[in-house]
Structures are given as C-alpha cells and as structure tokens.
Amino acid sequence: MTLVESSPVRAENKVAARLARLVKRYGDRTILDGLDLELERGQVVALLGKSGSGKTTILRLLAGLEQPTAGTAELAVSTSIVFQEHRLLPNKKVWENVVIGLPGSRSALREKARNLLREVGLEAHIDKWPGLLSGGEAQRVAVARALSREPGFLLLDEPFAALDALTRLEVQALTMRLKDQHGFGALLVTHDIDEALALGDRVLVLREGEIVLDARRDAPFPRRRSDARALELRGQLLTLLGVDLANY
C-alpha cells in the first residue's frame, strides 16, 4: 500500500480518505452495504464498534489488504499501518524492522532507524532481536516502523489492545505526541470507549456496517477523560454499542 497521492479522490485538500458506496461481502454475509465516509487530514478518527461490526474491514479495505465487493475506498495521502500485534520480523534486528522495505544504503537506513527509535525512546535497543523486547517496546518499534514511511495518515488496528493497562496509557500518549510532531491523521479502530474519547477528534460508531454516530471532540489535548462532554458521549456510546450497565 503505497502513496496514493493521486487523482481518484478529487482535489479537496482536506480529505485524507474517502469511502464511497462501499460494499463488502464474505460469501453471503454482508459486512458493509453502501457505506459513505470521508476522513479529514490531520484528524484522529476513532472508529468504535462491536466485534463483527465491520470496523476492521474498513481499515483493511483502506490498507489494500481486502478488495471491496463494490464501491471504492481511497486514500489521498501516504499511509501506513499499525496492527494489534507488533508483527516485527523475528529474524531482523530492531532497526532493520523499522526501515523494512525502504530503499537506500544500510548506513543511511540505520541512521534513519536510529532517529525514529529515538523518537519512541528505544534508541538503546537498536541492535536487539525483537524477541527480547517487551510487548510495549515491540509495539513502540511497530509505531516507529509505521512512521518510517512518513505517512500522512495512519491506520491503527487496535494497536493498544494487547498491551497491559499502564503500558497502554504510555503508548497512547506517545502516539498522540508523535501525531502532534508529525501532523498525521489516523483512523483508530478500537473497541475501547475511553480510548476513543481520549484520542479521537471525531468518534464514529459502526453498527452492522452503518455509521450510527458521528461526534466531534474539540477539547484540547491532553483530554480529561471525565469532562462533561466526554461523560455525555460515553453514555451515548454505551447505549449505541448495546451495553446497558443497568442490566448487570
């Protein structure tokens, strides 16, 4: 999935990605049925949904890992992806993982990797095998790897879900700091309401392939997770996601 700095998405400079009448079926199971959605540059869009709601499918369609049954999913800016698992190649040193697939001399690439690793606070691990990293460290390397493409837009597929609670907060904060520095937008697929509220400039809820909520969050970052708007949204989100805490 390379730079798609190209025509299909019309020259509206604000748009980073556009889904148009997007349909995705697996066999006779319809996941997305004519979805329209525009994502803006520089914005973090949190996409919430229950398992099977189609949120990961949207991300994978944008990444080019799946082909739409009908309609289009296009990106107007360069992009890279961070998965839920770090997916580091065990047979490559940390720095080689960061610059994987990039052209250039080894020394230049190593220098590039060093700079990126410094940004995620792992310069000391540059020559380690990934197998020796902790879960949080490995995921930070995965973030550095995504940044090596200088993406305009990041696809984040529940990248914090597999981390323990404390590490998750750290890696979340790191990602947001990097967003401020690099100015990328992101589609953050998650099932964590608090994460969506804390990180998302815009929060979408996907239910059975349809967007049932599209809310803006304009509070400045770092956001308090307990401001009035957040609490109000939280209640709304829980209801939309079908979680009625009164029943438990």
Binding site: G64, R87, N91, K92, G131, S134
Partner: protein
Amino acid sequence: MTTATLEAEREAAPELAARASRITRFGGALGRSVGPLGSRILLGSLIPVGLFAWWWWQAEHGGLDTRIYASPRLLFDLFVDLWQAGILQEHGLVSLQRVLVGFGVGSAIAVFLGVICGYFRLLEKLFDPAIQIFRATPTVALLPMFLIWFGFGEFSKILLIVLGIIPRTYVITYTGIVNVDKKLLELAKVYNLSKFQTITQVVIPSAAPFIFNALRLASVSSFLLLIFAESINPKVGFGYLAQQALFNIRVDYILLIALIYGVLGLAVDTLVRLIEKVMTPWNGAKAVR
C-alpha cells in the same frame, strides 16, 4: 496397594525428593563448571562410553568370544592398521564425497521445491502430485534400474542418495513454508516487500527450524542410502570394505565400518546444528513471556 507399601512410600518420599534435588543440583553444578556445551558433551557421551566400557570388560575379562563379537581392542588395532596403510582414508574419502554430493544436491533441490511449492499455489499444483507419487515409490528398489540405465559409476550411486532424500526433505520444508505466520506475510505486503524479498526475508527465515530439521534427517538418510548404493558391485568406498569383510567373515572389520558410519553421521548432524545456530541467531534470542 497395601497399607505397608503406602507406609514405605511415605517414608521413602523425603529420601526420593532429596535424591531428586541432589540430581538437579548435580546437573546445575555440572552446567556451571563446564558450561552448557561441556555438560551436553559429558552427559551425551555417558551411554555410548558406558556401553563401550562394558563391551571391553566382557571381551577382556568376561570370556566373550571375540571371533564373533570382536572387541574394542581388536577394533582399535584394526583401525590403526587400516589408517596406517591408508586404506580408510582412500575408501572413506570416496564414500564421504558420495554422501556430501548426494546430500548437497538432493537437499538443495528438495528445499527449493519445498519453498516454491509452499509459497506459490500454482507451482504446488504443478509439482506436488508428481512428488507425492514419487514419495510412495521406494527409491532403493529402483537402484537396479539406475544401474541398468546409468551404469555402475558414481552417477547411479549419487542419484540414489539424491532421489532418496528429496521426498521427505521436500515435505518438511513445504510444511514449514505453508505454516509461516500469515500476519507476517500481510506485513510484508503492507510494507511493499517484493515477492523475492518476502521469500528470502520473511518466509525462509520463519521456516528455518523446519528446514534445518529436514536437513538433519536428510543427512542421516544419506548415510543409509550410501550403504545401499555401495552394496552392489562396489569397487571403492566403505561399502566395498564392508563387502570384503563379509566375504572374509571379519566381524571386527564390519563393526569398525558401522562405527565409523555412526561417528560420521553424528559429525554431519552436529555440523548441520552448528550451521543452524550460526544462521538463525534470533532463535536463541527469545525472552520467555
């Protein structure tokens, strides 16, 4: 179980536990004093050396008929004689060459086929049925045909080793390739690795434990196949020596050659393990989580 035996076991329990802990401590202490490799060699040679010592004792002092069972001393004397006469070197080198060429060519073909068939669906459809049919054919039974078709020279012998090790090496390699983590393949796609880069940087390294396992099995098979290959009309090689020994009913001779086969097999296996360790250093660098 009677109460008495239960009693006895209960009484023995602390003693057993103490013994177990002594053994563990012994192992640990051994590891500390001679290193992991040292303790491996030391422990690994216990059984072979023990068997040898027992054989030696029986031959020297236990009235073992050395005409039938030979003895370590006879073997050693024979080894020195043959070595000094240059016979072992002459025949050994030829045999070793056959094994190494057969093993090298056969495993290269098999690993190559395993990799491409495991990775490319189309090639699997093309090659796999043929290989499976071939796999079910006992290669050794084809040896007479090889001799008729290709003569009694080196080619037939090496061909037997090559064809003999291909099927299993192929199957294990193939299994390793198709079991490569699909998520890493997806990553390779997302990060724009070419097909070639994906195969060399993702697929083969992931399948390396399978491939090296296949090579270790193939190295052992190569020696077994060598024995067959050299059993028909040999003029030179260990097989020739063994056949001469059989005609002359020289037990010591046959046993010595068997022993040399064993030692060479161990050496090749160790070599393959060593190569694996050097070529896949990341497999030793894993934290347990």
